[in-house]
Assembly symmetry: C2
Homo-oligomer: 322 residues x 2
């Protein structure tokens, strides 16, 4: 249960550790007794329980982990489809964790994985650090509420919280899924593996991205920064790469050639287009940049990271391919 | 249980009806079977229960009131002093009410009394409709969370909600209280009754005000506006009067003379000064103005309304005194 921070070791808990981000984060904190928690059993799990069930959060924090990465959540589509489950897991589960920490009366660092889904259209050209949270999904609402709780519990001194609003993670490894955002990864991931991918929106659509590697970097940095300068505003929009679908495709051509990019099949889907129109396109993540959070350099780098980490399984970024 | 709206009558419930605003609102909706609810028994109460206790909210909405004014809340000072009570009443109580409405499966208008406490310093010169909610109190946090729930429940179609962020109500009738904001009313109310009042901050302090009469007007207007144009952003900063303490005192002199204003005794209090520094001073309440919400014309009018409604008990505004 120890993770290296500078020269000393700190005990660490990760909730939602079975997810893609949880697994990658755990791989960067390779101590033998790190607590890896999820509601579903998984390879490497050290604690399996439902955080939203009474008494479970108390058990998890009884060992007083010094750093808690709270990643556990029902995803956007499921929270929209199942109203009660979304609120139970994403709001009540988080509140139970925060309450358990408060009652344990110690003051750990809590790193909360929030989302750009706390924002909803209409947007300014770039979303600044003082733009309102007006989510257009129940998932975004739940994350925005968790952010408010995180700030208040931190202000009260119950813990030392940092909420980070992750961009859309791209390229998401694994199989295609039915998430409305799935195509942003699919149009890169599938062609790189020789598979056809469907593009349901025009190339002019713009969105906000970070690689899995950048996301892990944000989480670890958030666990180590000094929080004095945050004041009462504990939630930060992370930096990212703003790219249009056209720019995504141009980067794919540069990395893997025209032939690979030809595997993208245009098949407009008005429903997906309507959903995507409500999503953030660009940010001015001034506070996070000042605090040392670092994004990927370009969408091309995002693709090269995917190739290196998922296709070649080498740990180093930026190897040229195309 | 019927209130006139245009030419027809709508059944109406007021929670927190024992409070100053609740009583004044009820007086403007003078039908015999209006449901007046509070946790404390009071003259005129038709329902007394703890909204945060399981099952109570369901009982309240079982009769399906078409308009619900949700005013019930633990005040700022108490929510800060008693963390658990604040969350239980201001968050859980509101959520139970919203859940009861959802499960009753009808779609009433819900008017929620929010507060400028959802905002926290640092501020722009005037807080616009897209400024973030970064409260500096647990009360403000709870109100901000309730606002998010109101928007999501409205978006989902469970009810038709409008949240209105009330300015500091001034002149608050009644006895002096120990709220940090109490002096804003005290320096007007006490001198007008021939009593001395203490001013704990410099005359340069600026704040955002509405008369009780304006607040009642906001609530009734919010129960009647068309909500189509609100979209998913269901919470509105109300218009008000931005005035410095110096301007308050100048208006008092104009209305009641120099001698009355001499009853204000300066007694600086660094603690109150520090609290007040975190409060909003000025708003650009564009959306609310476009929707027809109307503020008092000036701080002088705010004083004249107090004189008319509380000291002379005449219903008409604007009678000259000084």
């Amino acid at each position: 249960m120890v993770a290296p921070v500078g020269s000393r070791l700190v005990s660490t808990l990760i909730t939602g550790a079975a997810g893609m981000i949880g697994r990658k984060l755990a791989a960067q904190l390779p101590q033998p007794d790190l607590v890896l928690h999820d509601v579903v059993p998984f390879d490497g799990a050290t604690a399996v329980s439902d955080l939203s069930a009474p008494g479970e959060a108390e058990k998890l924090v009884a060992s007083r982990p010094e750093v808690i990465f709270h990643l556990a959540a029902v995803v956007s589509g499921e929270a929209e489809a199942d109203f009660e489950k979304g609120y139970r897991v994403n709001l009540d589960g988080t509140r139970r964790l925060f309450e358990a920490i408060r009652k344990e009366s110690y003051r750990p660092r809590v790193v909360f994985a929030s989302s750009i889904a706390v924002f909803g259209a209409p947007f300014p050209p770039a979303i600044g650090d003082e733009f309102l949270n007006a989510p257009l999904t129940s998932y975004g609402t739940q994350k925005a509420i968790d952010e408010l709780l995180l700030s208040d519990y931190s202000r009260r001194g119950f813990f030392d919280g940092v909420g980070i609003r992750l961009p859309t993670i791209c390229v998401r490894p694994g199989k295609p899924n039915k998430a409305a955002s799935g195509f942003f990864s699919g149009i890169i991931r599938e062609p790189l593996s020789g598979q056809e991918a469907v593009l349901p929106v025009p190339e002019t659509v713009r969105h906000w991205f970070a690689s899995p590697r950048a996301a892990i970097g944000f989480l670890i940095h958030a666990s180590r920064i000094k929080t004095e300068s945050l004041g009462a505003r504990r939630n930060l929009s992370m930096p990212g790469v703003s790219a249009t679908v056209g720019e995504q495709i141009a980067a794919l051509k540069k990395v893997a050639g025209e032939k690979t990019a030809k595997l993208i099949r245009r098949e407009p889907d008005p429903t997906i287009m309507r959903i995507v129109e409500g999503w953030p396109q660009n940010f001015d993540a001034k506070r996070a940049l000042e605090l040392g959070f670092r994004a990927d350099a370009s969408f091309e780098e995002i693709i090269r990271i995917h190739v290196a980490d998922e296709l070649e399984k080498t740990p180093e970024p930026g190897r040229a391919l195309g």
